[in-house]
Symmetry: C2
Subunit: 505 residues, 2 copies
């Protein structure tokens, strides 16, 4: 059917067009069906139907116009076409039949190309969550995620990498691990993520110090030059399917096991990692509540690594309490830099960073078996890690002369005093993250929470429990209100109804 | 955040707004999250993010503007808000935990109110397909579907109803069953559907004779006046959740068992049916391939009926071959009317219609046990069924004097002759439906397929196998091309490569 083109000044996120309900009926087409648009070139688009577009016209979203060469033609011939074969494979997956490598590749490719509707993508994710996947299928999923994106190939080996399963607040260890590894001669091209539900991802942290939106070629050249990089993976085209899957999973609040595995390992595989250490924080409130689940996840990651030709080790870490005493980009970076500059800082941060770095040093042959942690600690103590971080900052385009005292947290802040003498008996990590987010983290770099008292610590009445920082005063007010409504910390013997005394500084 | 309102001249099908990516980031909001719009009234809307809307502005889809009183305010205060509780219940369902009656009601209500995103709705449907539901849950789902829509209450009882599980082409029996029942004093307020993937739904058929877009009050008053009605359910607000579920299931090509049950029985429950006969066509190509599956479905329908206070009987019918010899609105109506006028016509149509009507007559006490079919046959033969159908046509606003010879199929037609002497050994129902659809059915009322030879029948070389009718010549050409590419009928001994000789009349 020849239709008059009506460009819609809006992006749909996919190749989509809108047909008048009567025209759609005439063509026997329903919403969610596909049509082929014929002009000088061909394009398959997903149909919405509605009465906003007059009969005889075709509403064309931005992406289609761009694909067809920026300026839409005046009319287009619209012909019904079949669904992509991957929709049939998703149906097969729903029916709990095993998928072949080619079928999984096709699904992933269609995810990357945005040719699946939201309903189809959601069906894939929901089925992944319910049915899971066999080891073969997970391997194929991972390979497909690698192969449908950009890959980095280094001439030197081994290539080291590190990943932390999320869920624990204040986990700023990459800022220490990466320079420790690079300072000892191993290459570590670390791609990282921004926080979606957390208060600061590694990319959010590094951005306080230097630009993180680097392309794959920059990641390669910086790593070859100074030994390491801390980039935002989202700026690259590395394993692009992952981002699309995460965005569709987010509204459901799920993270299917097979996709967690594939997501981690695809990003490692795409940068050509040979040795990988994975930090699995265990504890209530994290993604891995029990040691048993942690071990299962570790085994699955190691097996998947073997299948992909990577040497993987996992470390289960204490995840029931924040790492260090800061949550939020600037606060966390300040704390990490202080450790690098002075070795002064929270033990939880120093121990965890050197422990994980030590494993990688041993795996890469830089340290003898059993001596990795000592070497990591020595790299930190000697200042070589700090020097290396400065080189990385400079190579990424930041200021290498920055000191921890230069990093100023949000100008608006309020401390919350303890209403009683006693021990901290409850400390809700999730609420701390929520409060940091309401205060503006991770977008407002200065926003976050400074933790004065962790679980098990003793506090006197009137001493501060936490300080909330914010770049904007109204966000501080909102964060205080939220803290007041459902306070994250309980001090033994305190009267819950008297918590609401806040002092704005 | 106070944002400048930019009304989008387009419908989203839901309450949706578009935020600039930077504003969304500032508020810590992602696509698929909800915001509350505050003006003089409150409205919760689903967020899309994009760069088409400038920073500081809010793209507002049509539905939100209408809800807020047709004219959008100039600015609106936008505040993040939580997901509806039903999203949590869907997550619980994914985790294979049993849902309570309240939780299911909440999900159905949110489906009806369009407050779930496509991803959330797809997750519910996919989970329904994979996990299924317990008998309790199916009952609650059905009750929720009834209670979230309009209901009809009659003063007289019993109310009879009839439903056919789809999948068999040419199933025009409602045009005979409804008047037979009504002619014998039982009330039968039949709501029916239009074809989505078929060539003609009962509503598409009846529309050839009379308007079918009737409100619930008209369905009630016409039924009370003449004993029966054949209306399009989609024009009413009866069990509105069903339509929304079907639209989300359609792209996945699935029909979860629990939703099939609930969908049928909710529509019967909402019109106050006391006695219901359900036609279950069994055979390859239908929704129910084996007798065993048919029996299971029948048991589930009967049990659900009991739970809802309805007396349900099921009849498994032969579904491997079309009912009668016509497929497509006008052709089918012509065939059905001819039977009503003359008792001449395909045995498959007469036997099936009187068989099902007979069951209902016995259930309703109009016929003695074992005499229902005879009574139905007599009602047909005597012309009382025809008289009753005319009354129904007139009451719905159609022309009661119509004769089968007045119904003219599409002016463009072509017959496909047999390329050989022999028996029809293969007959592909699904391809027949596809060809009828390509020819224009169900939208183009005159389009369809007239079947001259069914499976098992003998044919001479050159005798017609089928005739394709179309209202538009280009659709006839497309249908012929499709038939040529993959011909639906195989005659014993025919040379497959010589099928492509068509004669356009």
């Amino acid at each position: 059917m020849e239709l008059k083109v009506q460009p819609l000044q809006i992006k749909a996120g996919k190749f989509k067009v809108v047909l008048n309900t009567a025209d759609a009926k005439e063509m026997g087409i329903h919403g969610g069906d596909r049509v082929q648009l014929k002009d000088h070139s061909y394009l398959t688009a997903i149909v919405e139907t509605g009465d906003m577009i007059p009969k005889g016209s075709l509403g064309v979203y931005q992406e289609c116009c761009e694909k067809l060469g920026k300026i839409c033609p005046l009319t287009m011939n619209v012909v019904p076409t079949t669904r992509p074969s991957s929709v049939g494979f998703i149906k097969k997956f729903m029916d709990h039949q095993k998928l072949t490598q080619e079928e999984i590749y096709q699904i992933v490719q269609d995810i990357v190309r945005d040719t699946l509707t939201e309903v189809e993508l959601a069906a894939f994710i929901t089925t992944s969550y319910i049915h899971g996947m066999s080891s073969d299928e997970v391997e194929w999923l991972t390979r497909a995620m690698i192969d449908t994106g950009e890959k980095i190939e280094f001439d030197t080996h081994p290539i080291a990498d590190k990943h932390s399963i999320g869920g624990v607040p204040g986990n700023k260890i990459s800022l220490l691990v990466v320079p420790i590894i690079a300072a000892n001669g191993l290459l570590i091209p670390k791609t990282s993520s921004r926080a979606i539900t957390g208060a600061a991802g590694t990319a959010d942290l590094m951005e306080v110090l230097a630009p993180v939106e680097l392309g794959a070629d920059e990641i390669k050249s910086i790593t070859e030059k100074v030994g390491g990089v801390i980039a935002w993976g989202g700026a690259t085209n590395i394993a692009p399917a992952d981002d699309k899957l995460i965005h569709a999973e987010y509204p459901l609040g799920i993270d299917p096991h097979n996709q967690l595995l594939a997501s981690i390992m695809a990003k490692k595989g795409a940068v050509g990692a040979d040795i990988v250490v994975i930090d699995i924080p265990v504890g209530s409130g994290t993604k891995v509540p029990t040691m048993q689940e942690g071990k299962k996840l570790a085994r699955d990651l190691i097996e998947l690594g073997e299948r992909l030709g990577m040497n993987v080790e996992c470390a289960m870490t204490y995840g029931a309490s924040p790492v260090g005493r800061t949550v939020g980009p600037a606060l966390e970076v300040r704390e990490a830099l202080k450790v690098l500059e002075t070795m002064e800082g929270p033990n939880s941060l120093i121990e965890k960073s050197t422990g994980l770095a030590g494993i990688l040093l041993e795996m890469g042959g830089a340290a003898a078996k059993g001596h990795g942690k000592d070497m990591a600690m020595e790299t930190l103590r000697s200042g070589r890690a700090l020097e290396k971080l400065k080189e990385i900052i400079e190579a990424q385009g930041g200021n290498p002369d920055i000191k921890h005292t230069d990093i100023i947290p949000g100008e608006h802040h309020a401390e919350i005093p303890s209403p009683a003498d006693g021990y901290v008996i409850e400390f809700d990590d999730k609420r701390i993250i929520e409060i940091a987010r309401i205060a503006g983290a991770p977008t407002d770099k200065g926003s976050g929470v400074w933790i004065h008292k962790k679980k098990g610590e003793i506090v006197k009445k009137g001493e501060p429990l936490i300080t909330i920082f914010a770049d904007k005063n109204w966000k501080l007010t909102d964060a205080l209100k939220s803290a007041e409504k459902d306070f994250p910390i309980i001090v033994e013997g305190m009267l819950l109804e008297r918590v609401q005394t806040f002092r704005v500084m």
